[in-house]
Symmetry: D2
Subunit: 385 residues, 4 copies
C-alpha cells in the first residue's frame, strides 16, 4: 500500500497482495482519477473502464479460477475494493454488484449450467449483471417485497418493480428476488426478456458516475432453468453480506482519498504566512481523520481474517459497514472544510466523495438498520419495528 | 411565517413584517422552488428571477427610499433572507451581494454622485453589482491582499486578481478593494473598463445556481471619482458584517426547508408497517433539528433587535453566522439521511441545500475564523496566526 | 446580571428583576460558594442556608403574597433558579421542590384550608416539603405506579414506596401521588404519620449536597381532608412542568459557573510561555461554551415570556429542559478538561457541577423522554413504548 | 478473556496469555470490585491489594525474571492493565507507576547496582516507587521544569517541587527528574532523605482510591550513585511511552466495565412494559459503545504486535492513549445515562469510572497534546506553542 497506513498493515500482507494492490493503485491513479470528476459532473458512467477492470481480475475476485474468477482470498478482495473506491464509489459499486451480488449468488446458488454459462462471461465483463432486491416501498424491510413469481407450465411469470438497481440499464443479466408462493426466490432474468425493462433513474446528486435503474416486470416469463436453488430471505441477505464486506473496505479507500488531499492541501496552502497545517484547528481535524481511518483499517484487516477463516458473522460485517461508511462520510466532510473555498471545486475529490458516500451510507442497510442489527446482537432483542 | 416557528416568533412581528414575509414566502414557493433544482443540476443562474426580486423590494431593503431602497428595518431584512434561502442559497447570495456588499458600501462610503448614480439602478436591478475582496491566496486573511492601485493623473491604475466573486461575470459594477500606498481602499469598477475581465469559474459542486467569477485587473484605469470615501480594512469588514447578518438569517431558511421536507417524509414514508416518523431513531433526528433551528431563530430575532437598536457588534454577527450556518449544514445532512435513498434525488431539496451550505460555511469568514473571533472576544487574545 | 450575558439580556429586564438578581448573586457568592464544595465531598446538605433562602423570598416565588409567596413573574423565578444553580444544583433542587412541587400543587389543587395551613409555612421554610411521584420501578413511566390508596371511613389508607425523593427525610409534608380506584390522586402526608417513613438514600455520586430519600407507606392512614382536588396524571405532570421550567433556567446557572471558571483559568494558566487561552484548541472550547450558553439564555428568556403570557406549552418546557441540561453537562465536562489536572480538585467547581448535572439530566424526564416528547410534537406519533 | 470481545481477539492469544488473564480477571472480580467503591467514596487506597498484585506478577511484568520481573511480552502487559482498570483506574495507575515509571527507568537507565538493589523489591512490592516529573506550572511542557540539581562533592543537591505524583506519599523510592546544568537528569530519591517530603493532595474528585502527592525538595542531598545514566527529556519521555501504552489498554478495561454494566441493566430494567434494551435509543447507545470498545481493542492488539516487534513509535502510543481514553470516558458517560437515576449510585460502577477517567484523559499527555503530536506526525509541523 502506497497510501495512508499508520499501523503498517502492509507488513501483514503477502507479496501477492502487495503486488496486486500496487498495480491496482496505479490503475486508479492513471485510469480513474483523471476522468472521474468529469463523469460525475456529467452524470455518466466511464464505460471504457469496464474491460480494464475485468483484465485486472476484479470481477469475481474470490470466485474459483475454473469459473473465470481470480480465486483470491477475502483480504485481496477487500484491498481491491479499497483501492477502487479511492477512485470513486461508483466504480467500486460496479465491482461490488458484479462480484458480490451477481457472481456470488450464481456461484453459491446456481446450477452447474448457470455457473458455466454466466460466471466466465461476468468475470471477463462480456456480460454485466445487476441485483434486484429493493423495491420502491421496501428498502430497509425487504421481507415486505411485492414482486411476485407465479409458476407456469414452462417456468415462472414475474410481476413487480425494483428500484435503486445499480447497473440495471446496462445489465445483460439480472438476479431478481421475488416471492413464489409467499417465499422469496431468486431468478435470472436476461436482458431482452419480453415484459422486462430497466429505465435509468435521473436527477441523482450522488454516485453520478454510476447507472442506477428501475427494473420493471410485466408478465415477464422466465424459463424454468433460471431459478436459483435457494429459498427465503437468507439468499439475498447472504449476497448483501458479501457486498457489505466490500463496502466496508471501499469506504476506507474514499476516506484515504479525501484525507490525503487534505494533508497535501494543509501543507501547501498558506494563510497568515504559514501552511494552514500549522494551525491547531487544522491539526485537530487531520488527527481526527487519521485516527478514524486507521481504526477502520484495523477493523477491515481483522474482518478479512475472520472471513478467510470462516468465522465472520453477518454482525461482524454490519459492524464494519456501519462504522466505516459513516467514518468515510465524516472524513469527506471534514476534508471539504479543510480545503476552504477550493473544496467545492472539481479540482479536489472531496465533494464528489462526500456526495457519493451519502448513497453508500444508505444502501445495503442504512446506518440505522446496522445500528439495530448490533443492538439486537447485544441485547438479544429486535427493535426494528 | 407559515413555516417552522416553535417559539411563535411570528407573534413578535408587526403586521408589515408578516405581510411582506408571507408574500415573499409565496414567491419562493411559486417562483423559486419549481425551477431551482434544474438550475442547480445544470449549473445556471435563474436570471428570470432578478427583476422579480427587485420588484419585491429585496435589493437594498434597508437603504432609504430616497435612494430606491425599501427603508425597512434589519428585522425585515433578516426575515427576507430567511425566506429566500428557504428557496436556495444561491438566490439569497445574489441578494446579499447586491444589498450588503454593493449597495451598502456605496450608501455608506459613496459620494452623493455615486449614490444617486448607482443605488436606484441597483435597487431596481437595472444594474447588478459584485464585491471583490478575496484573492486566490488571501481568503481568511484579506489584509494580505496583493491587488494594487496606483494614483495616476486622472485616477487610479488597478492591477491584481480577485476570486470567488459572486455575480462577477454578471455585474455592471464591481466594488473592488485594493491597496493604495499600502492602505486598503474601495473602487467602483464598471463593466467594460479596459483591462478588466470577469471570467466565470467552472467545476463547482456548490451554489451551482449562482455565478461565481474571477475578477482580473491588468493596468485597469479607474477614474478619480470612482474611489470610495473609506480607508483601511474596516471598509470591507463593515460590509461583511452586513452580509453575514443576512447569512445568519438565510441559513435558517435553508434549515427550515430541509427540516420540513424531513418531517413530511417521516410522516408519509412507510417501513415495517408504519411511518418512519414513528421510530425513535427518526424522532431523535427530528427533535435535534427542531431544537437547533429554533435556537437559531431566537439568535436571529435577538440579533435583529440589537442591529435595529444600534447595539450589535461584529462579534454578535460572527456568533450568529457561525452557529446558524453550521446548524443548517448539520440539518441538511441529517435530513438527507432521513430521506433514505430518496434523499439523493432532485425531487427533494436536501442534497442541494447540503451542497450549497458548504460554500456558505466557508465564505464571509470560515467557521474556524469565526471561532477565533469569539475566542478573542472571550480571552482578549488573538489566535489567528 | 453580573455574569455571562453575551446578548445583553440584562437590558430586557426590569429594575426589580435586576435588583433581586444582583442581591441573589451576592448571596450565592458569599453564602453558597465558600461552603458548598465541602458539603458535596461530605455528602451533607447545608441546612443553614434554608432560612436565608426563605428570607430572600425564593420559596413560592410565583405564589401570591397573600399565601406568603413573592407574587413575582416567571421571569423572576427563572432568573432566581439560574443564580441558585450557579451555586449548586442541590440548592436549586431544594428550591424547585419546595416551590414547584410542593407549594404549586397546594396552591393549584389545594383547598383553602390546605393553602392557609401550608403555604405560609413553606414560604418561610418553617416547614419543608417533598414530592413523591417516582417509584423504584416506574421512573420514565409514572402511569405505572403501584402506590395505592384505599378509601376508608375517615380518609385513605396508603401503601407503596417512592424513591429518589429530594428532601424526603427533611420534609414536614409530602405530596404523595397514589392510585385511588386506579386513578392517580395527590395526598398530603405529614411527617410522623404512623406507617410513613423516609429513610435517606446513600452512596450517591451526584447532588451530594442534597438529601435524597425513599418514602415508605405501610398502611399509612391519611385524613380525608388531606387529598388534593385533582385526578389523573395531569396533576403531577403540571407540577413537573413548573419544576422543569426552573431546571431549564437553573442548568444555565451551572453552565455559567463552569464557563466563567474556565475563562478565568484560561487567561491565567501559563503553558509554553503563554496563557492557555491563547491556544486555538482552548479558544474553540470556550467559543463552544459561550455559544451554547447564550442560546440557552435566549430560550429561557423566550420561555419566560410565553409562561408569563400564558402561552407556554409543556412541549416548550420540555424543549428547554432537554436542551439546557445537556448543554450544561457538556459545558461542565469541557470546562473540566480546560482546567487540566487542576480540574479534578475541589478548588474549582467543575467536577461538582458535572457530577450534579448527571442527576439533573435524568430527573424530571430524562433527556431521551424529552426527545420523544418533541418527537411526538413534531410527528404526531407517540414512540415511548 | 471472559469479557467483551466482539472480534474474538481471544483466539489470537497464547494459552499463557489466556490463563494469566483469566486468573487476573477473577482477582478483579473477587478482590477489587467488592471493595473499590467504598474506597473511592472514602478517598482511600486499598493497600491490602498491593502485595496480592505483586504475587500475581503485575509489577515489572515485562522486566526480565533475573530482576524479579515476569519477563512477559507487551501483549501480556497490556492485557493485564486492561483487566486491572476494569476494576479501577487507581489500581491500574498504581501498577503503571510501579512498572513503567519506576522499574522501567531503573532497568533501562540504572546501574547494575541500582537494578539489583531496587528491581526485586519493587517487583515484590516490598518497596513502592513514584515518578516525579510534572511540576505545578509545567504540565504539558515538562521541558520548562524548574526543579534543579547542583553537583556537590559527594552527589547532588536537589531543590524544587513536583505535583500530581501518584503514590508519592507511599513511595520508598522516587524517580525525580531535575535539571543539572540545564539538562534534565533522573535521580533516585529515597524516602526519608533529609529535605524531601511528600504530602498527600486532598480534595480530589477523581482517582479517589489513589494516593496523589506533592514532592518537595529543599536542599535535598542525593548521593552520587543515585543518578540515572540518561540525559535530556528523552529519559522521562521514554518512561511515559511505556506508561501510556499501559493506559491505552487500561482505558479499554474501564470501558468494558461500564459497557457490561449497561448491557446488563438494559436487559433487566423494565420501563413501559419491556426491558429498556428494547428501545431504539438505548440500542443506539449500546451499539456505539460496543463499536468504540471493539476498535480500541484492535488498536491495542496491533500496538502490542508493534511493541513486541520493536516497531512501535511514540506516535503509535499517543494515538492509542488519545483514542482509547476519550473513548472510555465517552462510554462511561453514556453508560451512566443508560442507568438512569440508578447510574448515580455506588451500586453501579459508572460514575466512579467516569470520574476516574477525567484524570486519565489529562495525565501522561492531555488529549489535546496527543492531538498535536499526531498533527505534527501528519504535517511535519509542531503546533504546541
Amino acid at each position: 500500500m502506497k497510501n495512508t497506513d499508520f499501523f503498517d498493515i502492509k507488513s501483514l500482507l503477502t507479496e501477492e497482495h502487495k503486488l496486486f494492490i500496487d498495480s491496482l493503485s496505479d490503475f486508479v491513479d492513471i485510469e480513474i482519477l483523471p476522468v472521474i470528476e468529469e463523469h460525475f459532473l456529467e452524470g455518466t458512467y466511464p464505460s471504457e473502464l469496464t474491460l480494464k477492470l475485468a483484465e485486472l481480475g476484479i470481477f469475481g475476485i474470490t470466485i474459483p479460477q475454473e469459473y473465470g474468477g481470480a480465486g483470491a482470498d477475502y483480504l485481496m478482495y477487500g484491498l481491491a475494493m479499497q483501492e477502487l473506491e479511492r477512485g470513486d464509489s461508483a466504480i467500486r459499486s460496479f465491482a461490488s454488484v458484479q462480484s458480490s451480488l451477481v457472481m456470488y449468488p450464481i456461484y453459491k446458488y446456481g446450477s452447474e449450467n448457470q455457473k458455466n454459462k454466466w460466471l466466465p462471461k461476468l468475470a471477463s465483463a462480456e456480460s454485466i449483471g445487476c441485483f434486484g432486491l429493493t423495491e420502491p416501498d421496501f428498502g430497509s424491510n425487504p421481507a415486505g417485497m411485492l414482486t411476485n413469481a407465479v409458476k407456469t407450465r414452462s417456468g415462472y411469470l414475474l410481476n413487480g418493480a425494483k428500484m435503486w438497481i445499480t447497473n440495471g440499464t446496462l445489465a445483460d443479466i439480472a438476479i431478481v428476488w421475488a416471492k413464489l408462493d409467499g417465499i422469496v426466490h431468486g431468478f435470472l432474468v436476461e436482458k431482452g426478456t419480453p415484459g422486462f425493462s430497466a429505465p435509468e433513474m435521473k436527477g441523482k446528486h450522488s454516485l453520478r458516475a454510476s447507472v442506477t435503474s428501475e427494473l420493471i416486470f410485466q408478465d415477464c416469463e422466465i424459463p424454468e432453468e433460471n431459478i436459483l436453488n435457494i429459498s427465503g430471505l437468507k439468499g439475498p441477505l447472504s449476497c448483501l453480506t458479501q457486498a457489505r464486506y466490500g463496502i466496508a473496505w471501499g469506504a476506507v479507500g474514499a476516506a484515504i482519498a479525501v484525507y490525503e488531499s487534505a494533508v497535501e492541501y494543509s501543507k501547501t496552502r498558506i494563510q497568515f504566512g504559514k501552511p494552514i497545517g500549522a494551525f491547531q484547528l487544522v491539526q485537530e481535524k487531520l488527527a481526527y481523520m487519521l485516527t478514524e481511518i486507521s481504526k477502520a483499517q484495523l477493523i477491515n484487516f481483522r474482518l478479512a481474517q475472520l472471513m478467510d477463516g470462516g468465522n465472520a458473522t453477518p454482525q461482524h460485517v454490519s459492524f464494519a459497514k456501519r462504522n466505516n461508511v459513516r467514518m468515510a462520510l465524516d472524513c469527506a466532510r471534514i476534508a471539504r472544510e479543510i480545503h476552504g473555498a477550493n473544496g467545492i471545486l472539481s479540482e479536489y475529490p472531496v465533494m464528489r466523495h462526500a456526495a457519493n458516500l451519502e448513497s453508500v451510507l444508505t444502501y445495503e442497510g442504512t446506518h440505522d438498520i446496522h445500528t439495530l442489527i448490533l443492538g439486537q446482537h447485544i441485547t438479544g432483542i429486535a427493535a426494528y419495528e
